[in-house]
Symmetry: C2
Subunit: 298 residues, 2 copies
């Protein structure tokens, strides 16, 4: 019974060749001669008893076995890299950077409140924040460019196999308006009036919009939509300056009052905004990612 251990050096050459798309480029990248790569690659193929590449023209192409092997090699060398990084950290197990993507639709204040406990727990942590659209961020997450993504949307069915989402908090939604708007004659003060009031809404793709549409439908409202926004901060800015009635999570009430002089007009008790942390399903999570996920409310 032969059981030759897998040669990880050979596998690493194979992986580099596949990534770089050729023996020559891989050799340059690794600082060795192409003959070396070619020879060791041959050994690997003999060891495992499968051809990994076929020579088509003067180019190498992955075989089916090669593609399969590459999937594993990707994981293996990613882990190796992270092992190295983990051991390079002065404080063991505590990565010194946490790279987080924040969806445009998440209010900055909410993002702050979610991240604050993590930052406080590790004073020397460097937090790196990126903003963007949901798809953009989850894609960056898959490519290991981000450690975690904060969003107001759950994952779609298709993504649930590659990523995991965890609901961190939820908050009822309210309709707000700047005091300047409310002091005008004939200002809307209750549900019935909203049919004619100027309304600012999140754009179609957001989950909050969907739920608001359902609510307005149920209440029989056909509001006068004067603006749609992708970015919740922009929506708030317009709304806070009196451009129209606007929805926001009720955690923001105090901030809206202080910063924009805007008031809660009505709270939609059964329309909730959920906030999710989306991460890769790693069994070796970054300490800070683990803390963030654990901070989920019951």
């Amino acid at each position: 019974m032969s059981k030759p251990e897998l040669n990880y050096k050979h596998l690493h050459y194979f992986w580099t060749v596949a990534k770089e798309g050729g023996v020559a480029r891989a050799a340059e990248r690794l600082g060795v001669s192409p003959q070396t790569i070619s020879g060791q690659l041959g050994k690997l193929e003999r060891d495992i008893g499968r051809t990994l590449f076929t020579q088509v023209g003067r180019r190498l192409e992955l075989t089916e076995a090669g593609r399969e092997a590459l999937r594993y090699a990707d994981e293996i060398f990613l882990l190796g890299e992270r092992l190295r990084e983990a051991l390079d950290e002065p404080a063991l197990g505590q990565a010194s950077r946490l790279t987080v993507g924040i969806a445009d639709s998440v209010p900055k204040l909410v993002a702050y409140k979610l991240l604050a406990p993590v930052v406080e727990a590790s004073p020397q942590l460097r937090l790196v924040c990126h903003e963007g659209e949901f798809d953009e961020l989850t894609s960056a997450l898959s490519r290991h460019k981000l450690d975690i993504v904060l969003s107001d949307r759950d994952l779609g069915q298709a993504q649930q196999r590659r990523l995991v989402a965890r609901r961190l908090a939820s908050c009822p939604i309210g309709i707000y308006a700047a005091r300047s708007l409310l002091e005008k004659p004939g200002a809307a003060r209750n549900i019935a009036d909203f049919s004619h009031a100027p309304m600012l809404l999140p754009s179609k793709r957001t989950s909050m919009r969907t739920r608001l549409d359902v609510w307005m439908d149920a209440e029989g409202l056909t509001p006068n939509v004067v603006g749609e926004f992708d970015d919740s901060a922009l929506l708030t800015t317009f709304g806070g300056n009196g451009a129209g009635y606007f929805p926001a999570a009720t955690v923001l009430t105090e901030m809206l009052s202080r910063q924009y002089d805007a008031e809660l007009v009505i709270e939609l008790s059964d329309v909730n905004e959920g906030y999710y942390a989306i991460s890769l399903p790693s069994r070796l999570p970054n300490l800070h990612v683990a803390r963030l996920l654990q901070s989920a409310l019951p």
Copy 2:
């Protein structure tokens, strides 16, 4: 900027030493001399700039850095092993075995119905089934002794970081009784009568029991419990032979009628039994595991 590549051979020695608990045992296992291990281990420590072991007495003990490294090494060499296995399969990407754990509380017929599509899709697949208690099975799953676990229970909060559960199907519960029991004078036929009827129930820890307790409480029933069972098959056998009224998922109605001559007495429309597939959060799932998870109902 120094960036010496991680030496996986050294890491493998380190991993084996940690697993076997000593240089000597590791050397024997790997078929090399202890000096070799010791030397290569020293090189690894110099390469990464951390001591991995401290010599306490004549034994080696992992340092903090060592424990951290070991977590990664575990993943890496598990992947290496699986890479080898995957490439050994005659049909690429199709593991020829699927090892599944089935919780005692899952009816055999349900397990069959859930697994049948997977088996049919791959005729040459060898299915290996183990039964046991929930904790036993999830533990085996964590140690990679099982590919997947079928259960009627969702994961607890604590386990959700290491394992993922997916609801595959759900089914309303009914109360059944053998015809022989129903033909006796004064047999229970509706809710009110159950207070005095002999009742068989799942044991305390199962999720079905919890929900049944809630239901009975809501209906004001204080049944005469004549038996509690861990294993749903055993419960069904007792119930089917007339030992008492017993609960079961309504998918089983036909089977119960044919095999035991038992009848559905009442269907609890708002008490549902959910069936879950629990697996490791791997990004490289076994094809069959992937199929099973994908077969979830909407």
